[in-house]
């Protein structure tokens, strides 16, 4: 019989995690519950759904960061005025995850901890240079999201840790944000390619850009080659430089959802569009 724990606070949650590292940590269940009736029951559940305080979204003015509680659902993320104002592409991505039923249950912390290479919010977190807050009975630490994914569905999360918050730097007014998801249809489709970018444009040229893709590698990736290629260029030239740099930066695979050739072509198109849309 599966054991069931429902912590009433973050302190109780990390204590449960430390005591039972083999239990399944469950929030909205939108990934972990798929075909649950055909899979062996876990030894136990640590249920974080609606953990008090875990879904709060606030602005840390001192650090210039949005603090998004790991338990925030995609509905909460997309509707929250602070997210809409300061991290518009995260709100946009949230609105394209599954559809209403999935958005009402899926959480940002679940997306991060589950670390699917096709997790829709993950390229956005890379492009926005987000940090994670990770909690355990040993204490709290911060980790750049970029260092969190260590491979195909492997992460830097300790066996006794929980993701407690996602910290997103507030974008400066001069920074232009880009997000595009390409799937088979608009709703309920798992992505073939996702692209996110934050582009600092000054005096008509790109000063700095962070460019991230999803579903083109074993994990969500920043494309350093593209980022370097566009610095100092006007949007039209940056678009062509970005397009040309993609093939050297990624080698997507073919699978049930798409082919290697299609993914590469779409990634090149999206890399160009990030910059061409600026002008």
């Amino acid at each position: 019989m599966t054991a069931y724990l429902r912590p009433r606070s973050l302190a109780e949650a990390v204590a449960a995690r430390a005591a039972e590292p083999g239990y399944l940590v469950l929030a909205g269940g939108t990934d972990l519950m798929v075909n649950a009736n055909h899979r062996p029951a876990p030894a136990g559940l640590i249920d974080l759904w609606r953990l008090p305080g875990a879904g709060e979204i606030s602005l840390d003015a001192e650090r210039g960061q949005l603090a998004i509680g790991a338990g925030a659902t995609w509905l909460q993320v997309q509707r929250h005025p602070l997210v809409v104002r300061h991290a518009a592409i995260l709100a946009a991505a949230a609105r394209e995850i599954g559809a209403l039923q999935i958005q009402a249950r899926g959480t940002i912390g679940g997306n991060v901890a589950n670390s699917s290479p096709v997790g829709d919010s993950l390229p956005v977190l890379l492009a926005l240079e987000a940090e994670l807050e990770l909690c355990s009975v040993r204490g709290t630490r911060r980790l750049p999201y970029r260092e969190f994914c260590t491979g195909y569905r492997t992460t830097a999360l300790g066996a006794d840790e929980l993701v407690s918050a996602v910290l997103v730097p507030v974008a400066a007014p001069a920074v232009r944000l880009f997000w595009r998801k390409v799937g088979t249809r608009r709703a309920q489709s798992i992505s073939k390619v996702m692209a996110a970018a934050a582009i600092h444009l000054e005096d008509g040229v790109v000063r700095r850009a962070t460019v991230a893709f999803g579903a083109v590698a074993d994990r969500p990736v920043r494309l350093a080659g593209v980022e370097a290629a566009v610095v100092g260029l006007a949007p039209a030239q940056a678009a062509e430089a970005a397009r040309a740099a993609v093939a050297g930066a990624i080698a997507p695979i073919s699978d049930v959802r798409s082919t290697s050739d299609y993914r590469l072509q779409v990634a090149e198109n999206l890399a160009a569009r990030m910059f061409s849309e600026l002008s």
Partner: protein, 198 residues
């Protein structure tokens, strides 16, 4: 474990493994077979129920997670007056407009659409639904379903908000017509026969 929940407005208790899907608890343990299983993967929306007032796929909810929470199924949409069952406006319009064929997706669509009418057709992120962002008691928001919306905007909103309910029969057109017709009823104040389940 013993799971105690408010089911369609009434207290219910059931002894089930915490990992069992809410869908199976409803159909097999509580004999509420109105909720259908389509895909079992959270893709199709056939098994949609309201969990604490929000539409969710019941195939993706663990029974343990329902302890102490409120669940509304398609059986809870109709109201009763003097022993007579009065269908929710959405249910009546799905019938009247021909918005159903084989019927597997229909309960999920009815639950989802009834929820949308109760909290208005504001698209996510447009600010109309900010009051619902705490995720609880969404139905308590008394927005008029068509308030401030043109016909085209209302149609687009219905399509986006029902995008998680897959139908293989109707082509969706008549489903959208039915939801818009129900929304007009509610907006016209014909609430006597349309009100939310009490």
């Amino acid at each position: 474990m013993k799971v105690t929940l408010t089911l369609n407005g009434q207290e219910a208790a059931v002894e089930v493994p915490p990992w069992r899907r809410l869908l199976d608890v409803l159909r097999d343990d509580l004999s509420l077979t109105g909720t259908k299983e389509g895909c079992g993967e959270g893709e199709c929306g056939a098994c949609t129920v309201l969990l604490d007032g929000e539409p969710v796929n019941s195939c993706l909810v663990a029974a343990g997670q329902c302890d102490g929470r409120a669940v509304t199924t398609v059986e809870g949409l109709a109201t009763h007056r003097r022993g007579e069952e009065i269908l929710h406006a959405v249910q009546r319009q799905l019938v009247a407009c021909g918005g159903a064929q084989c019927g597997i997706c229909t309960p999920g669509i009815a639950v989802c659409a009834a929820h949308l009418l109760e909290r208005g057709l504001g698209a996510p992120g447009d600010g109309a639904n900010d009051g619902a962002s705490d995720g609880a008691g969404v139905g308590a928001q008394a927005a008029l379903p068509l308030a401030g919306k043109s016909e085209a905007e209302a149609r687009a909103a219905v399509r986006e908000l029902l995008a998680g309910n897959i139908c293989r029969c109707t082509g969706y057109q008549l489903v959208v017509e039915a939801v818009l017709a129900a929304a007009r009823e509610v907006a016209d104040g014909d609430a006597g026969a349309t009100g939310r389940p009490s």
